[in-house]
Symmetry: C2
Subunit: 182 residues, 2 copies
DNA sequence: ACTGTCATGTAACTTGTTACATGATTAG
DNA sequence: CTAATCATGTAACAAGTTACATGACAGT
């Protein structure tokens, strides 16, 4: 599982607090390819610390728990590189909307149609948001250094994914219309 | 979570044994949008039975545990319809290859390039396999009844997903080549 | 006064994975 | 004789979700 290695990858760029790591998943580039809750991040960082992959510097806070700034250790760095050298497995698809394909005929076709329309709007918005995130890289793709190119490519992957959903929704809505008006 | 409702959807089409339900996920249409292990299926069916969503008829087998043929109950049918009427949430993306975007520069670019090539071949094969599954529907799309159209559309979703991966890999490989040969 | 951001966590629960266990029948 | 298919499960573990708890400080 990549939560461990995604966090190590963040920390390989710069030391971060748990709060900041969690934010990477919800607001930053991490969200393009992985999802994790704040609780999961805190738990994983504690585990990583026990494993010796990260260390933290505790910064006393007025009237509350210490802030912990985590950095990657040589051992964590090695674990990340080892992992990057292994082949990846395509993610298993788990998509709720797929059940419509098996049992959609049990509900009125307007329900299916409406749901696809709703999803199309969601994916359109997500594509737009990702494009904004990418615009900085997209402007001068041919001048990027490898590090930034990789980042750009991953955001591109996410953009394509959302746009592909939008296009499929078009295809599906059209096909349903044709059958219903037949 | 859709495991419960995917199984109910299978059983709404016809009664099946646990073994057959599990096979739907690995060989049948179910695998287009959901993944579940045999153990998960057996556990979920037992749970569904306790909840009164399914019942089974035990068929004695020579020298081994009874075979259980599960059917959906009216209560299970209602639960499925209720669920189909609710809005779906887009699946959270969790993709190992994404870590390359954050930390790919820590390994030689040949590693990243090779991995993308490997993935491209995988996704190409999966697209081909799905197209074979779909060919029966694809032949006469305009003559399908709604039930089959929905099925076709879901397989189409899976095909598009795999093909989009293949296209992205092309895009990524080209971009990396351009930067490396610069 | 209230909302949002910063900042840490614990606990209970659900979901999914990996390893193990059993054993008949059929096809090569 | 060996492997695949049929057919059921248990047990331990890892990963992810949901709900709860605490509390300062900044802006409207």
């Amino acid at each position: 599982m990549a939560l461990k290695h995604t966090i190590l990858a963040f920390l390989s760029r710069q030391p971060l607090s748990g709060y900041e790591v969690a934010k990477e998943f919800t607001e930053g580039f991490g969200g393009c390819f992985w999802k994790a809750s704040q609780q999961q991040v805190y738990a994983e960082l504690a585990k990583l610390e026990r494993q010796g992959c990260v260390v933290y510097e505790a910064i006393p806070q007025a009237g509350r728990l210490d802030k912990k700034i985590y950095s990657i250790t040589p051992s964590g760095h090695q674990s990340l590189i080892d992992w990057l050298t292994q082949p990846t497995e395509p993610t298993a698809i788990r998509e709720d909307l797929g059940v419509m394909g098996l049992a959609g005929h049990l509900v009125p076709n307007q329900v299916v149609y409406g749901e696809i329309e709703r999803r199309q709007n969601l994916h359109r918005d997500m594509a737009q948001h990702l494009k904004t995130m990418d615009s900085h890289f997209a402007k001068h793709v041919d001048a990027l250094e490898l590090k930034d190119l990789y980042m750009h490519l991953i955001i591109r992957r996410a953009i394509r994914y959302q746009e592909d959903w939008v296009a499929w929704c078009d295809e599906a809505l059209e096909a349903i219309e044709r059958v219903v008006n037949r």
